[in-house]
């Protein structure tokens, strides 16, 4: 649409508040749009409504006390964040983790990634006016929540990992449920493609809309499916394998143009790759303890720092921890993927139509509380 964008007539600029409570803003996000007719000439996202001060809280809590906070930043992929935090502390303090626990963590993390992508799929299509796929996606997602609820005890804000393992072992029932779910999800792809991917209205709303090219992505630090949609196969699970990801055979799906349709396709393919990882992990699952009983109750990492990057559902996320040798972190900074993914909108929204703004905002899959921290 950008090529039709005429020079703005300054007297006719109209400022529109999108949000903070708009149904498509996925959290409390306000975007100040300066409009010339229906075209956006400037977009200024206003964030911070969900700021809770997690980084300050970390400095006043022991590592273990801060652990439940980790899953409350990005509440849609809470287990991934929980997993990442535990990995960072283990790396800093040198805590050993049994093999079985590593596999359990990977299985649960990938389940969480699928549930996050499914929620995105449902809400994105709903933003574009299709209500039915939303119900399909939530039906599937509910299965994951049941599986994870059974082993972690919670549905959304998981605090399942422990320094040195996981809190509860998985059993044969869990494995059976997971395998059944994967078979069920695979049987649903046809429905999804028939309902959405092949839908001509959906294609018109997404193809060529909100193009983020590789250069723009690099300037703004865009990561995750949004980056992969423009053809850069960058995934922390491949580039700096943590846990046991280097033992699995999976692909990093990429797009070509970096438009909303590519981002949609990349996420759908990622769910299939996550299924492949889970299957392999279940096949290779070793026996043994699920937690290192010798892990210290009160973690006191030696003086120093660590930056641990992992791939959350929205892209590369990093915990930067500085330890002064006490049980309290001296500094805990969290590099969140949605930060760059939202910031790039200030550039991408310029010259697009208001209606496309909703489509673009949905397609980049931001979780605002993760940016606000």
């Amino acid at each position: 649409m950008a090529e039709h964008f005429p020079e703005p007539v300054v007297e006719q600029i109209y400022t529109l508040n999108l949000g903070p409570q708009h149904p498509s803003t996925h959290g409390v996000l306000r975007v100040l749009l300066d409009l010339d007719g229906e075209f956006i000439i400037k977009a200024d996202p206003v964030i911070g409504y969900g700021h809770r001060g997690h980084e300050k809280m970390a400095e006043n809590r022991t590592y273990k006390q801060f652990m439940p906070n980790s899953s409350r930043m990005d509440y849609l992929s809470g287990l991934l964040y929980n997993h990442g935090f535990v990995l960072a502390v283990e790396k800093l303090a040198g805590v050993q983790v049994p093999e079985r626990a590593k596999y359990i963590r990977v299985i649960c993390s990938e389940l969480n990634r699928i549930s996050s992508h499914l929620l995105w799929f449902g809400t994105y299509v709903m933003d574009l006016g299709g209500f039915t796929p939303f119900l399909y996606a939530f039906d599937d997602r509910e299965n994951i929540l049941d599986i994870l609820d059974r082993v972690t005890g919670s549905r959304l804000t998981y605090s399942y990992c422990r320094f040195g393992g996981v809190t509860r072992d998985i059993d044969a029932e869990f494995i059976a449920m997971t395998r059944k779910f994967i078979a069920r999800l695979r049987s649903r792809w046809d429905d999804y493609h028939n309902l959405v991917t092949k839908n001509v209205i959906f294609i018109h709303r997404t193809r060529g809309v909100g193009i983020i090219d590789a250069q723009l992505a690099r300037q703004f630090g865009v990561v995750g499916p949004n980056l992969r949609a423009c053809g850069v196969a960058f995934d922390a699970r491949k580039s700096e394998p943590y846990e046991v990801y280097d033992r699995f055979d999976f692909e990093v799906p990429t797009g070509v143009k970096g438009d909303a349709l590519d981002r949609y396709n990349v996420r759908l393919q990622e769910m299939e790759q996550s299924c492949r990882i889970i299957e392999q992990a279940l096949d290779q699952l070793p026996s043994g303890p699920h937690i290192n009983e010798m892990a210290p109750f009160k973690v006191r990492p030696p003086k120093g720092e660590v930056y641990l990057a992992f791939e959350s559902a929205r892209g590369l996320t990093g915990y930067y921890l500085v330890s002064d040798g006490s049980p309290y972190p001296y500094r805990c900074h969290i590099r969140v993927p949605s930060f760059g993914n939202l910031h790039v909108l200030t550039e991408v929204l310029k010259g697009t139509l208001v209606a496309d703004a909703i489509s673009i905002l949905g397609s980049i899959d931001v979780v605002i509380p993760e940016i606000d921290r």
């Binding site: 690099r218 630090g221 960058f234 700096e240 660590v306 930067y320 006490s326 500094r331 930060f339 921290r373």
Partner: protein, 157 residues
């Protein structure tokens, strides 16, 4: 690996030998850490931009005797993250890098509101996450209850 080796070579040429430290074991999550003086920060960041890196995170550390800014940069190749660190006094202002990496526009706003570090020549330093009228800097160790306020050498010494 090409971009990483090229960048390391360039930074080693820019900074004195004792300011750079390479760690191929990737123990702290970075392959290369460099301590840049305030005056050479922008030059070092420009080198990163030229080598295909992106700016992953900017954050600050507050010590009794000094501020420290930590820039993490990464490129789309395996295990390539580097960190650039710069020390400066509590009353000094570092230069902005937002004209080199656009992502610094928001990240520097965040550092500014939480630590009170005013980046010179930054076009827009309004608070990002805090309220518009916030007159406090929450991540300073002088704000609220803190467990420890160290000198830098007590941790990195």
């Amino acid at each position: 690996m090409a971009a990483r080796e090229e960048l390391i070579k360039k930074i080693q040429a820019l900074l004195p030998q004792d300011a750079v430290c390479r760690d191929d074991s990737y123990k702290a999550g970075v392959v290369f850490a460099a301590q840049a003086p305030l005056g050479k920060l922008r030059e070092a960041i420009k080198l990163c931009e030229g080598c295909g890196y992106y700016l992953e995170s900017i954050t600050a550390l507050d010590f009794q005797d000094t501020f420290e800014l930590v820039y993490h940069l990464n490129c789309y190749e395996p295990t390539s993250r580097i960190s650039l660190r710069v020390l400066f006094g509590h009353d000094q202002s570092p230069p902005t890098v937002s004209d080199i990496f656009a992502s610094a526009l928001w990240q520097e706003r965040e550092v500014c509101e939480f630590f009170g570090i005013r980046f010179t020549d930054h076009p827009d330093l309004r608070p990002l996450l805090l309220p518009e009228d916030a007159d406090f800097t929450p991540l300073r160790k002088t704000f609220g209850a803190v467990h420890a306020y160290h000198k830098r050498e007590e941790i990195y010494g």
